[in-house]
């Protein structure tokens, strides 16, 4: 276990940047099913275990991790706000990000739009990771797994704020799901909310970033471009369909549509 978890820590940084094809191990244990499966109809956000991976994690940082997991849970409840159901998946945890490569279709089939897990490990037990599987984005982005890395020894308040900001992914994945189901009318609102929140999150990134953090921000920027494209396409299709409220919209000078500013 310890060996595989150390491997997880070492490898995820690369997996953020590169497609997990390059990183995937040939044999993987399957993720266990979520302990709160929910109904087939509802959209779901899975919150997996947020756990320390090594014995080197000091008690102080374990408590931080536990606190951040609680904080994430409470803020996700507000972020989903009736649009999806938050499912706490006890003991579900990936041994490797590539676990999701095999599962992403199944997650999509179960209407899981977002899956989140967290880990703390490294030689000093201070390397924190928060992973996100943006299930519906699998046709847009490669990889669909985002991993945010943080030094857990840093200021606690900043860590909490950063974790909360990652809730921006909730409207993005909901909007993407609607878009992919050709439910363009329902896609616009969450996509526009996600666009604003992603822009704020990207703008707040500090100048002094590690390569992993830079990769994460680039991934967010790529996602933002996709969100803007989906908004443009959705609004064009709806305007072409002739619904009256869309007729009032005017494109910009380039003929594109965007979210209200």
């Amino acid at each position: 276990m310890a060996q595989s978890t150390n491997r997880f820590i070492r490898m995820t940084g690369f997996c953020v940047v590169l497609l997990s094809l390059f990183c995937a191990e040939p044999v993987r244990a399957q993720l266990i099913a979520c302990s709160m499966p929910g109904t087939p109809e509802e959209f779901k956000v899975y919150l997996d275990d947020v756990r320390p991976l090594t014995k080197t994690v000091p008690p102080r940082l374990r408590a931080r991790l536990e606190s951040l997991a609680r904080s994430l849970q409470e803020n996700l409840k507000v972020a989903v706000n009736g649009r999806a159901a938050l499912k706490l998946c006890d003991k579900r945890f990936p041994l490797d990000v590539s676990d999701f490569t095999a599962q992403v279709d199944e997650l999509d089939h179960m209407r899981v739009v977002l899956e989140i897990w967290g880990a703390l490990g490294g030689a000093n037990g201070d390397e924190g990771e928060l992973g996100f599987v943006l299930v519906p984005a699998r046709s847009l982005l490669n990889p669909v797994v985002f991993v945010a890395k943080d030094d857990f020894k840093g200021p606690m308040l900043e860590l909490v704020k950063k974790y909360i900001e990652l809730g921006a992914f909730v409207p993005v994945v909901l909007g993407t799901t609607f878009y992919q189901n050709d439910q363009f009318e329902d896609a616009i609102s969450p996509l526009c909310e996600g666009e604003t929140k992603l822009q704020v999150a990207i703008a707040k990134q500090g100048a002094s970033q590690t390569p992993e953090q830079k990769a994460f921000v680039q991934h967010e920027k790529d996602l933002l471009v996709h969100v803007q494209t989906m908004v443009n396409v959705s609004l064009k299709k709806l305007k072409d369909a002739g619904k009256p409220q869309y007729k009032a919209l005017a494109p910009d000078s380039g003929g594109n549509f965007s979210c209200p500013k």
Binding site: S67, V160, I164, S189, V200, A248, C259
Partner: protein, 499 residues
């Protein structure tokens, strides 16, 4: 007359306490499973225990309960001037996670599910507060969540322009505030200051015998569970009559000198969201007054504005944009209702609504409030000889109302707003650059198309989900039978009354 009314409400309340829940007789501690509000109070603030998100070391436990007690006290001390308010602190049991969730407690208090000791009366307000607390060394990290609403009432407001009606509401009624840091020393200092400053006296005199407002229930790290609450009975000059309810259901009524530094050292500086909560009480109070066709007190509206402005000034607009936006909207609505003149009220509210829109441009209600208040204001402008309303840049207004409808496709009212605006265009004089005007034939066709269009939202049955999750009340579909406040009609009533 009012005192007699209050006395009778108090007597009813006390009688209720004596007769309620005989099965609980002899059970001094009532946990979250039987929540309680002062049914006679116009607005109740219920503070759930702050959940300790992790415990670093033994002996650190208890700050969550202590903090929620202090928040209850702090909020109470700042909402006294609204009158007819109650503040209740729920305490945790071992089964916190299940019993003290906002969806469990809130739905009981709003009579959506059984189990409350006393429920919020129809039309009255509830502000539910909960949060997380994490202790590390000498610091506390706190995040607060709050939800405000009136029982079986919508927060919808109806605006008018050229005989057409339009509807909007605040953008959200469930707020996640930014996390804050507070030192344990600060918390202790505030606690001490409260105990010294807040004395409940037997008579409305500074030399009358008294005891600390918190009384025997001060319970920071004790293992007791139960609830304690306060209700403002009446005001007499600088003195306020308060009833304190203890966790053993005993009550104590006495007087507090409101001008004698009641709040002591305030928690608000460290937790500016308390200003928001206090302001939300003021907002709800003004809506309750308006529903009763009574002009909200302008002093109270000023207090509401001051509290919400204090929040906006201290808040982190990047981290909590919705909270800042809603604070502006509540300030605007409370001011709009309190000002005698509609034009004056709209002139006050509109810039606040516009600021809110800029903060959350993706929110349909933020767009609608800003646009409709502007339109309603324009409709009051002096008419030219044609007697037609003058519309500046109507195409831009139509675009905004269309955006609002697009961002909230399941909301029939949003599309109706656009439809009604087109009807106004047909009987208005358009001004502004030609590109910003609308062709009346196109407008007529648009009207026909809207009248024949239908809504097919993908996300349904949110009201049913509300017993399993605490969903933002602003996102719930309002019962069409519920009263909507028509701002123009309300103002006309006030003018008539004043004559």
């Amino acid at each position: 007359m009012r005192n007699r009314y209050l006395f009778s409400r108090l007597a009813t309340f006390l009688l209720g306490l004596l007769t309620a829940r005989p099965a609980q007789a002899g059970m001094p501690h009532v946990p979250c499973q039987s929540p309680f509000v002062y049914s006679g109070a116009a607005v109740n603030v219920v503070v759930l225990p702050y959940k300790e998100s992790a415990t670093l070391a033994a002996g650190n436990a208890g700050s969550g309960t202590r903090l929620s007690l202090l928040i209850e006290m702090d909020v109470l001390s700042h909402i006294l001037e609204y009158g007819s308010v109650g503040a209740i602190q729920m305490e945790a049991t071992d089964h916190y996670d299940e019993l003290c969730k906002p969806e469990i407690v809130g739905n009981k208090l709003l009579a959506k599910t059984p189990g409350a000791e006393a429920v919020v009366a129809q039309g009255n307000g509830l502000v539910l507060v909960w949060g997380l607390i994490y202790e590390e060394d000498d610091d506390l990290y706190i995040q607060t969540f709050a939800s405000f609403q009136r029982r079986e009432r919508t927060e919808d407001l109806t605006f008018s322009a050229s005989n057409a009606k339009f509807t909007s509401r605040p953008s959200s009624q469930l707020i996640a505030f930014a996390p804050r840091r507070l030192s344990k020393k600060d918390l202790q200092r505030i606690d001490n200051a409260f105990q010294h400053a807040n004395i409940i006296r037997q008579e409305p005199r500074d030399d009358a015998p008294g005891e600390t407002l918190r009384g025997p229930d001060a319970c920071a790290t004790c293992t007791q569970v139960g609830f304690s609450g306060f209700w403002v009975n009446k005001r007499s000059g600088e003195w306020l009559s308060i009833t304190r309810m203890n966790s053993d259901h005993s009550t104590k009524t006495g007087w507090i000198h409101a001008s004698a530094g009641l709040s002591g050292e305030s928690l608000d500086r460290a937790l500016p969201e308390l200003h928001f909560i206090e302001g939300a009480v003021g907002y709800l109070r003004s809506r309750i007054d308006a529903d009763a066709r009574s002009t909200p007190d302008e002093t109270r509206a000023r207090a509401t504005a001051e509290q919400l402005n204090a929040f906006v000034t201290a808040a982190d607009a990047e981290q909590e944009p919705m909270a800042v936006a809603v604070a502006g909207q509540l300030t605007g609505i409370a001011g709009l209702l309190a000002k005698k003149d509609l034009a004056e009220g709209l002139a006050f509210a509109q810039p606040l609504f516009e600021k809110a829109r800029a903060l959350v441009p993706y929110n349909a209600e933020a767009i609608t409030l800003a646009t409709l208040s502007d339109l309603s204001r324009a409709s009051l402008a002096p008419r030219k000889s044609t007697e037609l309303m003058v519309l500046q840049d109507p195409r831009l207004i139509a675009q905004r109302l269309a955006q609002a409808s697009i961002l909230d496709p399941a909301n029939a009212q949003a599309l109706t707003n656009l439809r009604n605006f087109y009807s106004v265009v047909l009987r208005s004089e358009q001004v502004g650059p030609a590109a910003n005007r609308l062709d009346k034939l196109d407008v007529t066709n648009q009207l026909k198309e809207i009248d024949t269009s239908s809504l097919q939202p993908a996300i349904k049955n949110m009201n049913e989900m509300n017993t399993q999750q605490w969903i933002d009340p602003a996102r719930l579909k309002a019962d069409p039978k519920q009263m909507k406040l028509d701002v123009q009609e309300f103002k006309k009533d006030q003018v008539k009354k004043s004559h």
